[in-house]
């Protein structure tokens, strides 16, 4: 190995003053497989976008550092340049045409052509497709992967695994392809399909094609990669040969921040199961819950963590009746009806949605409406009866309630009549909390309570949750992608992976333990 195929030197990138990549450098040799790992938001996607010359990078001010391909610096201004230079990319989502066959998809826009007389008059675009040659090319590409797919099958009729292979075959059909970037290629595959895919990746490497393999399944990364690069907060924290590296090591590098867990007392008043979730499934797009079971004790703050897309958000949304769900949910030994938002609210549950602007707020209405509306609809509060004939909104009562919460939660606003859309993210989040508290719930679901809000507001939101838990004994189930946040206020934390609970740990468990559960390596863990 004389010269590396690709070397990234001191790559850095800022988005609106927000540094997402800093001084990232590593090299890839010919025929080498690099495993690129990192949490959500660690900068993997941005790095690949830079490598691929995606226009979004140039639009947001370009990047720092240099990329060298076979020793010469390159600057790609569009993905086409990258393709011409021999870099292929397979995205997480399929970009195939369902109504076309595998052959047609693999050779799309690079079809083998036969000239005819029309070409002399109108030019090359009048050529006829050479189907036989295309078939052979597709066949060859598929064989290089070491799998068996009939090139004439329609993509729409293929199992997902075959679609993934078709997509890779399309990339390696390019003659000059030298480097292949695979972004979470196994995310949609079953285990046996993933095995085959890993085998074909090794196969490609033997043929001299380098591969950047991005996956959160650390078991796959450690088994297939020659070298592992770990990104955390936009920096390369570890670059190491994959030999003798365990999953636990990688998990530790990935999440391992030195977090001080505030050691406030966390004891339960009573040790009694309050909410029991059994075999819950939820059909929420992008956050599918397959089968989840866990118990929450009375007066507990129960955390649910996990990577994006693994189904942690589906749990509260499903229980609250916002997405189709099935299974069994018991509150205080009484079964809750699923798929019925009203009944669940009436049973004493409340929900602070992760989609603040979409679900959490009436953006065009005033704060008192936002805070009092749900309580009015569910508990018939804030209504004054007129001669026992009909009842009207109690504007005074609503104003009073809103004022109370504006004070209690330090909501910064001009008054109760301000429109919700005019508040900052953090204050909007407080309004959402106020709305839930106004219901005086027995159990509160909070989903991503600190997403997209500043540090000050974050502290207030978390403190408020802790206070309500302590002072009113409110049982809280908090879903968050931020592990430290969960560890800071929860009693126990469940980690969700691929729609199932990978394990439940006490907040004091070591950070590596959590990382290990997130990595998809603890399938048999089950509910602790």
């Amino acid at each position: 190995m004389s010269e590396p195929l690709l070397s990234l030197k001191n790559i850095s990138k800022e988005f609106y003053g927000n540094r997402v990549l800093e001084d990232v450098s590593f090299t890839i040799n010919k025929g080498e497989i690099i495993g690129l790992v990192g949490e959500n938001g660690a900068g993997k996607t941005t790095l690949m976008r830079i490598l691929f010359g995606m226009p979004v990078i140039a639009e947001t001010g370009g990047f720092g550092g240099t990329i060298e391909l076979e020793g010469t610096p390159v600057v790609f201004t569009s993905p086409f340049d990258a393709l011409d230079a021999g870099i292929g990319m397979v995205h997480q989502e399929f970009s195939l045409i369902p109504g076309f066959t595998a052959t047609e998809n693999i050779t799309l826009n690079r079809e083998s052509l036969k000239r005819n007389f029309m070409c002399d008059i109108f030019g090359e675009r009048m050529s006829i497709l050479d189907r036989a040659a295309m078939h052979n090319r597709a066949q060859a590409a598929i064989e290089r992967l070491g799998v068996k797919i009939d090139p004439e099958t329609l993509v729409s009729e293929m199992p997902v695994g075959h679609k993934q292979f078709t997509e890779i075959a399309r990339e390696i059909d390019r003659k000059q392809v030298k480097l292949l970037v695979l972004d979470e290629p196994t995310a949609v595959l079953t285990e046996s399909e993933a095995e085959i895919l890993l085998a074909s990746i090794r196969n490609l490497a033997v043929q001299g094609i380098s591969v950047i393999f991005i996956s959160h399944r650390l078991a796959e990364v450690t088994s297939v990669a020659d070298k592992i690069v770990v990104l955390r907060d936009g920096k390369v924290v570890k670059e190491t040969p994959a030999k003798n590296v365990t999953i636990r090591d990688v998990a530790g590098w990935m999440v391992g921040r030195d977090v001080k867990i505030e050691s406030h007392e966390r004891t339960l008043v009573e040790n009694r199961v309050y909410l029991s979730v059994q075999n819950l499934w939820v059909d929420m797009p992008g956050e599918t819950v397959r089968s989840v079971s866990f118990d929450v004790n009375k007066g507990e703050i129960f955390g649910i963590g996990g990577l994006a897309g693994q189904g942690k958000l589906g749990i509260p949304n499903g229980i609250m009746g916002l997405f189709p769900a099935g299974g069994k949910v018991l509150l205080d030994d009484k079964e809750l009806p699923l798929n019925n938002a009203r009944a669940v609210l009436e049973a004493g549950l409340a929900f602070v949605s992760e989609d603040r602007r979409g679900v959490g707020l009436l953006l065009d209405e005033s704060l008192d409406w936002n805070i009092a509306f749900t309580a009015m609809q569910i508990k018939n509060q804030f209504l004054t009866s007129i001669l026992n004939l009909f009842s009207l909104r109690d504007a005074k009562g609503m104003t009073k309630l809103a004022q109370e919460y504006i004070q209690a939660l330090e909501i910064r606003c001009t008054g109760v009549k301000q429109k919700a859309k005019e508040l900052s993210g953090g204050n909007q989040q407080k309004v959402c909390l106020a709305k839930a508290f106004a219901l005086e719930p027995k159990l509160l679901f909070v989903s991503e309570p600190t997403r997209g809000i500043d540090v000050g507001a974050k502290t207030i939101v978390l403190d408020t949750l802790r206070r309500y838990n302590k002072e009113y004994g409110m049982t809280i189930v908090m879903v968050s992608s931020e592990l430290e946040e969960l560890r800071a206020i929860c009693h126990r934390i469940a980690i969700v992976d691929e729609g199932r609970i990978a394990g439940i740990l006490p907040y004091s468990a070591a950070i590596e333990e959590f990382g290990y559960l997130m990595s998809g390596s603890a399938k048999e863990g089950g509910a602790a």
């Binding site: 938002a341 009203r342 959490g360 953006l363 209405e365 749900t374 009015m376 609809q377 569910i378």
Partner: protein, 347 residues
Amino acid sequence: MKWLKDFITDFGWPRIIIALFLMALFIAAPFVGVKLGPSFTDVFNRFGQNAVMVLALVPMVQAGCGLNFGLPVGIVAGLLGALITMQIGLTGFTGFVVSIVFTVFFGSLFGWFYAALLNRVKGEEMTISMYIGFSIVMLFSILWLVLPFTKPTLVMGYAGEGLRRSISLENYWRHVLNDNALTIQIGSVIFPTGLILFVALCAFFMFIFMRTKTGTAMTAVGSNPDYARASGVSINKMRTSATIISTIFGGIGILVYQQSFGFVQVYDAPLFMAFPAISALLIGGASVNKASIVNVIIGTLLFQGMLTMTPSVINSMLQTDMSEVIRIIVSNGMIIYALTRKTKVAK
């Protein structure tokens, strides 16, 4: 000057311009030989005649169904109510009340079906409702020929079957609201107290309804359906209620219109009835997703005032008949204007 600026942004330029224009017309009227007294009488009458139909648009706007271009659904219910009452042979105030009862019944029925359809086309309500309105008018054009009305005053003279194009209410309940014991005359201005009271009653009912739990839920559905759903409110149910109420009020609206106008007009007459109502609401400062009773009252006054004054004053000035042209330009221009500024609402 700040209060003036605030007032202008709050009240909105279009309303100010139209109000000033209207004022200018009233000032100019005596100079071109148009008498002011009858003009005021006209404006009051036309206001009362149309206000209920404008009011009918409010619940659907608030529930997020947009402007009810399908107002003819309600109008047809109203026609049916009036005609059945006439067939039975009830007259005077009793006849008017009974026709309202029939209208409420048919309005609920038609409104329910109309709502079921609209719930399937969320986001496209305004386009679809326009075609539903056109279709139901045409469907009833057939039915008016076929339905077994027999009263000689209703059916066509020669054939003895099929309704006349316009049926006089002279011997039934013409001017039952406009011209009764409550009517006040000050000089040459006749104030139709009964009519205005009836409109006020309808407006009050709507005002109360929008403040009940259901009305509040309706507004929330219009403001953010997902929020409402997460608060345990059934979106479809609220939209259905809003559509039914809108349809019923549309029906009552046409009854009020007819008693003032003096004729029941069938066949294609209801075809374009929705447009002036919608323009009036928009001139009043409503938007596609927010409307209030105040918008209805101001809008109807300005729009009907313009329609009354412009033709008489301008025609006297120019010595030509421009009334229809001006009416069309104003009403359709206003709809276009409002649809381009979907979100901004004037108070």
